[in-house]
């Protein structure tokens, strides 16, 4: 039987579920371990002086015990909260999309420190209403981090330079194709302006302090949807929060 370990760590609460009568299980994104599921006992009774008020999308200092991969939080202190009240649907659902992507990619992700800081930046962008920029930036950066960012400079089949009319992102090969090389593969048409944006966002690297200044005009929800289709192809899973996010934009 493994010995119980005691750990102090900083983390971001990204989702929670009720467990039993008084307890909750939180998915916490940490810098060293990625997403971990932790039980917080008697949190619903809300009278334990060891816990600050805990909610999702808060950066907190945790003290936890770990035994056989079973994490129990016994102390939690609030450091920062991104979603201030009143909370609108667009902010909640976009933060949820980021949380879902973190959970989906967690099992294969080895860049925990990078993802942790990326989530910090993207939640900060969302809190300042740069929602679409934040989501597309996160999508692109997580694709790069996972090594599935598409090749978007030339046609991957014939290597020719692409003209403005024939930008097709082929999901299977993870890159662009010209109209001559086009096959029956799963594909999506990208506009030239969209390719430029993807290239630009793939190259920039925001720091936390820049997150309140960075914004791009003319960002379109369709670009988000197209990249999301590509991510879905690679993860084979739906992002549940998207439906509510699209509703919130109407």
């Amino acid at each position: 039987m493994q010995k119980t370990k005691y750990l102090n760590f900083e983390g971001i609460t990204i989702s929670s579920n009720d467990y039993g009568e008084f307890d909750k299980i939180y998915n916490i994104l940490s810098e060293s371990e990625g997403v971990i599921s932790c039980i917080i006992k008697r949190i619903k009774k809300n009278n334990n002086p060891n816990y600050d008020s805990i909610d999702i999308f808060q950066k907190m200092e945790f003290k936890a015990s770990v035994r056989e991969n079973f994490w129990t939080i016994y102390e939690a202190k609030n450091k920062y909260s991104w979603l201030d009240r009143p909370i609108n649907l667009a902010k909640l659902s976009s933060s949820n999309i980021i949380a879902e992507l973190c959970i989906k990619f967690n099992s294969i992700n080895e860049n925990n420190t990078y993802i942790y800081h990326l989530v910090n930046i993207c939640l900060s962008l969302i809190s300042k209403n740069n929602i679409l920029f934040s989501l597309i930036y996160f999508q692109i950066k997580i694709l790069i981090s996972e090594g599935i960012f598409p090749e978007i400079n030339n046609c991957l089949s014939c290597n020719t330079k692409l003209t403005p009319d024939d930008y097709y992102l082929i999901f299977e090969i993870g890159g662009l194709s010209c109209s001559k090389c086009l096959t029956d593969n799963t594909k999506i048409k990208l506009l030239e302006s969209e390719i430029r944006l993807i290239k630009y966002m793939s190259k920039i690297e925001l720091s936390y302090n820049e997150s309140d200044q960075k914004t791009i005009g003319n960002l379109d929800i369709n670009l988000y949807k197209k990249i999301s289709e590509y991510i879905k192809y690679h993860t084979t899973q739906e992002i549940k929060s998207e439906k509510i996010f699209f509703t919130s934009l109407n």
């Binding site: 989702s15 009720d18 467990y19 039993g20 009568e21 809300n46 009278n47 002086p49 816990y51 600050d52 008020s53 909610d55 999702i56 999308f57 609030n78 909260s81 979603l83 009240r85 009143p86 909370i87 609108n88 649907l89 902010k91 909640l92 659902s93 949820n96 999309i97 949380a99 879902e100 549940k240 929060s241 439906k243 509510i244 996010f245 509703t247």
Partner: protein, 205 residues
């Protein structure tokens, strides 16, 4: 003992544990404990429990006005002429309405949302009874709507959404106060709760 060994002991126990562990908040270990408690209990008690379960499922329904769990439609609250139907308290679930009823301080009516907005679980405004609430407000023009959703991010997003959807400016909208629990110590209260308590302070003279 692994699960395959358990299955070989009794498929009936395995089946019972399987059913019990599907209940919210019941893990496999608790389900096993409950199963063995049921097996050891007198038969009359278990028959009475199973009859209650079937009766609850067959006889309980949702009130078509406020969506509370009830035996009769309209429910005893909506059909009670001594209650103030011009005050509407909006809560997540029937259990929240029962908690408020236990305080004996509220004599208005309720509207049960049947959950809160939870994008990660695919629950948006359309999955709740928000459109029925808005229809109710338009038809009855209440004097006050008390939003009593949970003070969580999802509860707050639900209340913000509802407030934004209520277009009638004449309706007074209030929210339950958030603050220090009775018997709690100020020095143990966290910053967020204390800030909320300060913001929702009440004049006393």
């Amino acid at each position: 003992m692994n699960s395959s060994n358990k299955a070989s002991i009794s498929s009936v126990i395995t089946e019972l544990v399987g059913h019990l562990s599907q209940l919210p908040g019941i893990g496999p270990k608790t389900a096993e404990r409950l199963a063995f408690h049921i097996i050891k209990a007198p038969e009359s008690k278990i028959v009475s429990l199973s009859q209650s379960l079937v009766k609850a499922k067959q006889q309980l329904t949702f009130c078509k006005t406020c969506f509370i769990v009830t035996e009769n439609d309209p429910c005893s609250i909506c059909s009670n002429e001594f209650r103030d139907h011009k005050i509407l308290c909006v809560v997540h679930d029937s259990i929240d309405a029962y908690a408020i009823e236990n305080t004996n301080t509220y004599s208005g009516s309720y509207h049960i949302l049947n959950g809160s907005i939870s994008p990660m679980n695919g629950i948006g405004p359309n999955e709740l009874t928000i459109s029925q609430l808005l229809m109710r407000i338009n038809n009855n023009l209440p004097n006050e709507i008390i939003i009593a959703t949970n003070p969580t991010i999802e509860g707050d997003a639900t209340s913000t959404y509802i407030i934004n959807q209520i277009k009638n400016d004449e309706v007074k909208i209030t929210r339950l106060a958030i603050g220090i629990p009775i018997g709690g110590d100020l020095d143990y209260t966290d910053n967020k709760t204390l800030t909320q308590a300060f913001n929702s302070r009440q004049p006393i003279r």
